[in-house]
C-alpha cells in the first residue's frame, strides 16, 4: 500500500498535471549537463572505484566489485584438468546465449562453421529478452546514418571509437531488415511504415519497437532460428576459463555442467565472448534491471588471457527503475514511457527536467532532486520521484498504454497499480555496462582468434549509451563476430591446448601482493533478502 506521504505527494502531481501538459521544461545546456554529471552521477563518486594492480589495464580504475573479480583466483587453480580429453571439438565456440551470441551463432552457421553455443542459464534468459523500449536505426526519409552517428557521439561524450560507431549506424538499417526478414514483428502502420519514437538524446524519431516487448520479440525469433538451424547449444554450462593453444591463440574453454559440477573441455578454432553485462554485481549498492546471470564473467575470462578493457568505469544507471512496490524493486521502467510523453515530477508536483535528456543526465538529475534539493518522495530504500504515466493517454488518447506498453501495464497491474490512472515511483537502477572488452571493426581482440560481441564489448557507445543502441549493437556486432569467427576458423590450425595463463596470472597477483579467497567468474549472485545466514 502507498504510504500517506506518498498519497499526499501524488496529489501534487495530479494538481499540476493539466498545467504541465503544454509546458515541457527546456533541455539543459552542455555546461549544465557537465556540472550536473560531475556532482551527482555515481561514476564520479571516487569511493566506488578501485585501481587495478595487474593485467592489461593495470593502473586504470574500475568499479570495486569488478576489480575484486578481475583480480581473483581462477575457479580451477590447482585442479588437474586433462586437456587431452576433449568433450567438444568445434570451429566456433560462442559463450553466451543472449541476442549477441545467438546472432553470431546464426551467422557462423550460415558461413558453414561447426558451432557450439554454451550459456550459463537457459538460452534467451538474457538482458536482450528484457529490453523493452526499442532499437534504433536511421531508415526514415528525414534521417541518415550520419545524424545517428552525431546523436550517439554526443550522447557518448565524444568518446565512442569512431570506427565502431560508424559500423553501428551504417549497418543499423541492415540489422532491422535482417530481423524483419527473420519474422520479427515490428510495429508498423497499415502501409508498412515503421512506428518510431524518440529516445533520450535522439534528434530523429528512429526508435523501432515491438510494443514494449521489443527485445523479447527479437530474442525469441533468434532462438527459434538457431533451433531451426540445428545449432548445438548447451544450457546451464558456463565457461569458467578460456583455453589458449601453445602459440597464444584462443582455442576453446573449460565449461562447467552447472547441474552436476563436472568440468568439460570444449576445443574450438575460434571463440566469441557474448556474456553480457554486470548489473548483478550491484555497484555502489544499486539495484539492477539486469537478468540473474549478469556478473561480468566474460570480462573476467578475457582479462585473464590478456584482452584489454575500455571504459570499464563507465556504468549506465537507467533513470527509471522501479522504486515501489518492493516485489519489483529495481526492475526496468522502459524509457519509452518518457518517449510517449510522461514527465519526471518531484514531490511538490514540479517537472524538474526535460523528459528526454540522455540517461546519464536524467539519472543524475533524479539523484539531485532526491538529495540536495530534498524534493524526493520517501519510498522503500531512500527517496524516489514520480513518473507521470497518466499523461501518456492525455497526449495520445485512451488505450495507448495497453497497446504500446502492455508489459509495463501488466507488471504493475500484478501488484495492484494501474499506471494509466496513477503515476509511478522511480529511481535510477544499474542497467548497462557502457565499457567492456575492446574490439576492432571485425569484433576481434588483441588475442588472436578471440572475438567479442554484445554488452561485453566496450568502445561502441563511449561512456554513455543511448536507448535503443544496445539492441542494435548486439545484432550488428553479433553478426560481424559470427562471420569473422567462422572465416578465421577456416584458416586456423590449433596447437596443443594450455591453461598456463592461469598460473601466469596467479603469479602476477602474488607479485602485486594480492591475496584473496575470492574466485571468479562469479557466475551467479547470492541473495538472502535480509535473512541472516549462519
Amino acid at each position: 500500500m502507498l504510504t500517506a506521504e506518498m498519497l499526499k505527494s501524488m496529489a501534487n502531481v495530479e494538481r499540476t498535471r493539466s498545467a504541465r501538459m503544454n509546458a515541457t521544461p527546456a533541455r539543459m545546456s552542455a555546461e549544465e549537463k557537465d556540472t550536473l554529471l560531475q556532482e551527482y552521477h555515481p561514476d564520479y563518486r571516487q569511493s566506488g572505484f578501485t585501481v587495478l594492480s595487474v593485467g592489461p589495464n593495470k593502473g586504470s580504475k574500475v568499479p570495486t566489485e569488478l576489480a575484486e573479480l578481475l583480480q581473483a583466483n581462477s575457479r580451477i587453480r590447482g585442479s588437474e584438468i586433462d586437456l587431452e580429453r576433449v568433450d567438444y571439438d568445434v570451429d566456433v565456440l560462442i559463450i553466451g546465449g543472449g541476442g549477441a551470441g545467438t546472432s553470431a551463432a546464426i551467422e557462423a552457421d550460415k558461413a558453414g562453421a561447426k558451432v557450439l553455443l554454451v550459456t550459463k542459464l537457459k538460452m534467451g534468459e538474457a538482458n536482450t529478452m528484457m529490453a523493452e523500449g526499442g532499437i534504433q536505426a536511421a531508415d526514415k526519409e528525414n534521417d541518415s546514418p550520419a545524424i545517428h552517428y552525431l546523436d550517439a557521439l554526443g550522447g557518448g561524450h565524444y568518446s565512442n571509437k569512431p570506427e565502431l560507431l560508424k559500423r553501428l549506424v551504417h549497418d543499423g538499417p541492415l540489422a532491422i531488415k535482417w530481423l524483419n526478414d527473420l519474422g520479427v514483428m515490428f510495429d508498423k502502420d497499415e502501409k508498412g511504415v515503421m512506428v518510431t519514437t524518440h529516445g533520450g538524446g535522439t534528434s530523429r524519431k528512429r526508435m523501432h519497437a515491438a510494443a514494449d516487448y521489443t527485445g523479447a520479440e527479437i530474442m525469441r525469433v533468434l532462438r527459434d532460428e538457431a533451433v531451426n538451424r540445428g545449432i548445438t547449444t548447451i544450457d546451464y554450462a558456463p565457461a569458467i576459463e578460456l583455453l589458449l593453444d601453445e602459440t597464444g591463440k584462443a582455442a576453446g574453454a573449460v565449461l562447467m555442467n552447472y547441474d552436476t559440477g563436472e568440468y568439460l573441455v570444449a576445443k574450438a578454432k575460434t571463440v566469441i565472448i557474448a556474456t553480457g553485462g554486470a548489473g548483478r554485481l550491484h555497484y555502489q549498492g544499486f539495484p539492477t534491471s539486469n537478468h540473474y546471470g549478469a556478473t561480468a564473467d566474460g570480462l573476467v575470462l578475457g582479462y585473464r588471457v590478456g584482452a584489454e578493457l575500455i571504459y570499464a568505469d563507465a556504468i549506465q544507471y537507467h533513470p527509471t527503475g522501479v522504486a515501489y512496490p518492493a516485489q519489483i524493486f529495481g526492475a526496468l521502467v522502459t524509457e519509452k514511457v518518457r518517449s510517449l510523453g510522461a514527465m519526471l515530477i518531484n514531490s511538490e508536483g514540479e517537472a524538474f527536467m526535460h523528459p528526454l535528456e540522455t540517461r546519464d543526465v536524467a539519472a543524475a538529475s533524479i539523484i539531485r532532486e532526491c538529495t540536495t534539493r530534498g524534493k524526493g518522495v520517501p519510498a522503500l530504500d531512500g527517496s524516489a520521484v514520480w513518473l507521470d504515466t497518466p499523461m501518456i493517454e492525455m497526449i495520445h488518447g485512451a488505450g495507448t498504454i495497453e497497446k504500446r506498453l502492455p508489459g509495463m501495464l501488466r507488471m504493475y497491474g500484478k501488484f495492484g497499480i494501474d499506471l494509466r490512472k496513477e503515476p509511478i515511483l522511480v529511481y535510477p537502477t544499474l542497467h548497462y555496462q557502457n565499457g567492456g572488452i575492446l574490439i576492432n571493426e571485425q569484433a576481434g581482440t588483441k588475442i588472436e582468434n578471440l572475438f567479442v560481441a554484445g554488452e561485453a564489448v566496450g568502445g561502441i557507445h563511449g561512456t554513455n549509451r543511448l536507448m535503443g543502441n544496445s539492441l542494435l549493437d548486439i545484432i550488428v556486432f553479433g553478426r560481424i563476430a559470427g562471420k569473422s569467427a567462422a572465416q578465421k576458423s577456416k584458416e586456423t590450425q590449433l596447437g596443443k591446448l594450455t591453461l598456463s595463463h592461469i598460473d601466469k596470472f596467479q603469479a602476477e597477483l602474488a607479485a602485486a601482493g594480492i591475496h584473496t579467497d575470492k574466485v571468479s567468474p562469479l557466475l551467479l549472485p547470492t541473495y538472502t533478502h535480509g535473512r541472516k545466514v549462519r
Binding site: A30, L121, E163, V193, A211, A216, G230, Y236, A331, R410
Partner: protein, 225 residues
C-alpha cells in the same frame, strides 16, 4: 517497520518468510541458491513458472514466481524445463498457406475446448482463442493474440490435447512478421542506398572532423518535434 511473516511450504518443506517477498525471493530467503527456474527476474523470460495450491484447497494454480507475491499457506512446486514439441522449419521455404500450421502442429485440431491454457496463462492471454485462429489459418490474428507470450509453457503443461501453444504462436508471429505484415518501403530504400555505399563517404568525413566542430554540430542540431 516490523515485517509481517507468513508460513509457506516450498517443495514440501515448511518455512516462515516475509510476506512482501515474491515466491522466487521467498525461495532465496529460505536458503535456496537458484540455478534453474530463475532467469530475468522481471517477468519477460518465462523461465520461473511454478505450480501451487493454497493449503487445504483442491485447486491447482500456476504463475511466474518472480511476478507473484508469496501468500500464507502457499504450497509451491516447480515447473522447470517443461518439454515442448517445437518443429524445425526453414523460414525462407515455408509460406503462410493454410496448411503449414496443420502440417507442423496437427495436434492443434485435438483441442477439446477446456480452456485450461487460458486459465493458466500468467500473461492473461486468451490462449485457446489464438489456437483457434491457428486452426483456421488466420495467422495474423494468432500472431497478435499471442504476442505477449513469454514462453513459460504453463499452457502446455495444463493441456489435455498436448498442444505446444508457445511454438504455435511463435510460428504464426514469424509468418506474420516476414510475409503477412506490409513491407516497409522506407527501410528497403535505405538498405539499397547503404548497399550502394551512399553513406560511406559522409561517415568517413564526420569521423575526420575535429572535436570542436563535432561539439558545435551536436549542440546545435535540429531536433525533430
Amino acid at each position: 517497520m516490523q515485517e509481517e511473516m507468513v508460513e509457506v511450504f516450498l517443495l514440501g518443506k515448511k518455512y516462515t518468510v516475509p510476506s512482501e517477498l515474491t515466491i522466487m525471493d521467498a525461495m532465496e530467503y529460505a536458503g535456496y541458491k537458484l540455478v534453474r527456474g530463475c532467469g530475468c527476474r522481471s517477468g519477460f523470460c518465462g523461465g520461473c513458472a511454478v505450480i501451487y495450491r493454497m493449503k487445504g484447497s483442491h485447486e491447482l494454480k500456476v504463475c511466474l514466481s518472480c511476478q507473484t507475491k508469496i501468500e500464507a499457506g502457499m504450497c509451491v512446486g516447480k515447473i522447470e524445463a517443461y518439454p515442448i514439441n517445437k518443429k524445425a522449419f526453414d523460414i525462407e521455404e515455408i509460406k503462410p498457406t493454410e496448411n503449414i500450421m496443420g502440417q507442423l502442429y496437427p495436434e492443434i485440431y485435438s483441442c477439446i475446448g477446456c480452456n485450461a491454457c487460458t486459465k493458466g496463462c500468467p500473461q492473461g492471454l486468451n490462449v485457446m482463442q489464438y489456437i483457434a485462429y491457428a486452426q483456421r489459418g488466420d495467422y495474423e490474428k494468432c500472431a497478435h493474440a499471442s504476442f505477449d507470450c513469454v514462453g513459460c509453457n504453463i499452457c502446455a503443461s495444463r493441456c489435455p490435447a498436448q498442444i505446444s501453444h508457445s511454438a504455435v504462436g511463435l510460428l504464426a508471429r514469424r509468418l506474420t512478421g516476414k510475409y503477412l505484415a506490409p513491407q516497409s518501403e522506407h527501410l528497403n530504400k535505405r538498405v539499397s542506398e547503404i548497399e550502394k555505399g551512399d553513406y560511406e563517404k559522409i561517415l568517413e568525413q564526420l569521423m575526420q572532423k575535429p572535436l570542436a566542430e563535432m561539439k558545435e554540430l551536436y549542440n546545435n542540431r535540429e531536433i525533430e518535434k
